[in-house]
Subunit: 331 residues, 2 copies
């Protein structure tokens, strides 16, 4: 009997159901209860590739699945048998403490909001995305759930982001910064100015930060609207990937380079792992009743297993309760 159960959308992601199933089994072996939600035939074939399926893995059939080409909100409202909808229902109905999907991001945002529902007092759930920095993990919130935001949303994101940072990412007393532009270029937008007023004097708040401060980890919780946050996190990932690609290309184009690459391998591998998105396992939709995690479509087995581990940690540590208490207390 597992102390915590995670519902896994087995049909979500580019390599579903193979990757979600493999990741779920990895986490199940550590004692986490798993509900694998999706087409039972396809899941059965994926499970058959593994020698042993732990007893704490259960399959829940869902005949339908939401594709990345579907209109997210409409699909969630009209297709009750879609795997991510059924997976979210497991949390709403108390059979699981957390849900994770590497499927359609918009679909999972809609399913989580509509089925799990907001926590009391939450104006808008925010997508919290853990990212690497030289100071350790940082969190961008909102990473894209709300393209347009009001200052009150951002003030709540700060509180919720701090709970995530502390309880799941292990950051001691996380600092909070508002993402904005250099003072030389003006005073920032009204959103930034008004959010500053709301956050001034709250725990961890260090003021404004600029784009260049993100990789430095100057603030561990970065508060911004979902438009800026989404652009920034995709740019951050894309830039790191581009530089590693170019280094690899350079180091394999000559014998001298190949020798350098072989000798420096451990350095590159360390750094690559340090800034690997799979390390922190997915994004978190904070502010709903239960834990909802959304993985990259191209998440691998390790990323999926890490996501499930973090989800279980969140359930065990009562992240949702802490968020609620934090919002009620003003932190």
């Amino acid at each position: 009997m597992s102390d915590v159960v995670v519902a896994v959308d087995a049909m979500g992601g580019d390599k579903a159901p193979l990757v979600p199933v493999a990741g779920a089994l990895e986490a199940a072996r550590e004692g986490i209860g798993i509900l694998l939600v999706g087409d039972e035939g396809a899941i059965g074939r994926a499970l058959a590739q593994h020698d042993h399926v732990p007893r704490n893995v259960e399959v829940i059939h869902a005949a339908d699945r939401i594709l990345s080409t579907d209109d997210a909100v409409k699909a969630v409202r009209t297709r009750p048998d879609a795997s991510m909808v059924v997976a979210c229902r497991q949390v709403h109905e108390g059979r699981a403490g957390a849900v994770i999907s590497a499927g359609h991001t918009g679909g999972m945002l809609a399913a989580s909001t509509l089925i799990l529902r907001r926590l009391p007092g939450v104006i808008r759930p925010g997508l919290a995305v853990p990212m690497p920095s030289i100071a350790g993990p940082i969190v961008m919130i909102d990473g894209g759930a709300n393209a347009e935001c009001k200052p009150e949303y951002l003030a709540q994101f700060a509180v919720m982001g701090r709970v995530l940072g502390r309880d799941i990412l292990g950051i001691h007393d996380p600092t909070v910064g508002i993402l904005t532009i250099g003072e030389e270029a003006g005073k920032g937008t009204d959103l930034v100015l008004e959010t500053y007023e709301l956050l001034e004097g709250t725990p961890g708040f260090i003021g404004n930060i600029e784009g260049r401060d993100i990789p430095k980890g100057k603030a561990r919780i970065i508060v911004t609207d979902g438009f800026t946050g989404n652009v920034a996190l995709k740019l951050y990932e894309g830039t790191a990937a581009m530089i590693f690609h170019e280094i690899k290309r350079g180091l394999t184009s000559s014998l001298r380079g190949k020798v350098a690459g072989a000798l420096g391998m451990s350095v590159f591998k360390d750094l690559r792992r340090h800034i690997d998105p799979e390390e922190y396992g997915s994004a978190y939709l904070l502010g709903v009743r239960g834990i909802s995690m959304i993985g990259h479509g191209n998440t691998g087995t390790r990323g999926m297993a890490n996501g499930i581990r973090r989800a279980a940690q969140g359930v065990r540590g009562d992240v949702t309760g802490h968020i609620q208490a934090g919002l009620a207390a003003g932190d």
Copy 2:
């Protein structure tokens, strides 16, 4: 007698007047006429460090200078003897075709807009920032002149950015993309949707791009509001700097790493140069009467010289005339 004259704010930047003076002399040796604007005593001492000062270098005394701590707009309005104000006046009064400063960005934006004035038909000048990508140079516009924008501004930025890309950066028929968030996360902001409608069917327009497309160079002219643009360009620079710093740290922490670093040196140097902001020399305020360039405060001699070369190229190629014609024609 030089065919083109560039006014250089000798007092702008962290290492002024030494760096602006050294960069200006490098460009002057190639035949570009230079007006060095600033404190004549300080400029004289900087010039005295060089063996030979070409005849096409002239010093114009300006007793005052705007510091990064000053209120930009107020300083420009009330301090007519500030070096960047005097430098801009050289263009307005026809003694120079271009002006460049590595001083206070906000001050230079204000001085350019107030003294050079907008070109007829331009709603708002935009700060165009050349950046590297694996496909070659790209341009982010607006990089921070207008924190809040309207669709009509962005449509003009696209036209002006294309002229810069073609005439100064040598990009053949530059592609244009609107920076936005993944479709999965919603439909983007109203600004994005309305700008899309204005740009649809215009030359080079390829539609929306995401943050991850920036380092790939998917669009060579990236159109966005000054808030998002400024966050993105600083993040882009900061991420590259962070990765190189970490690689260097890793490669110098062991003998094995040091050997790898020595052997791979040419690869790292190539890549570093490829993504070096100094390569493309400063940002351009497009949409004013004349060419106005704003350098990084920490620009080095090479960056300053490159900036002056690009400025001269812009004057010779009549970038301002092309922008005006482009806006009048709809491209």
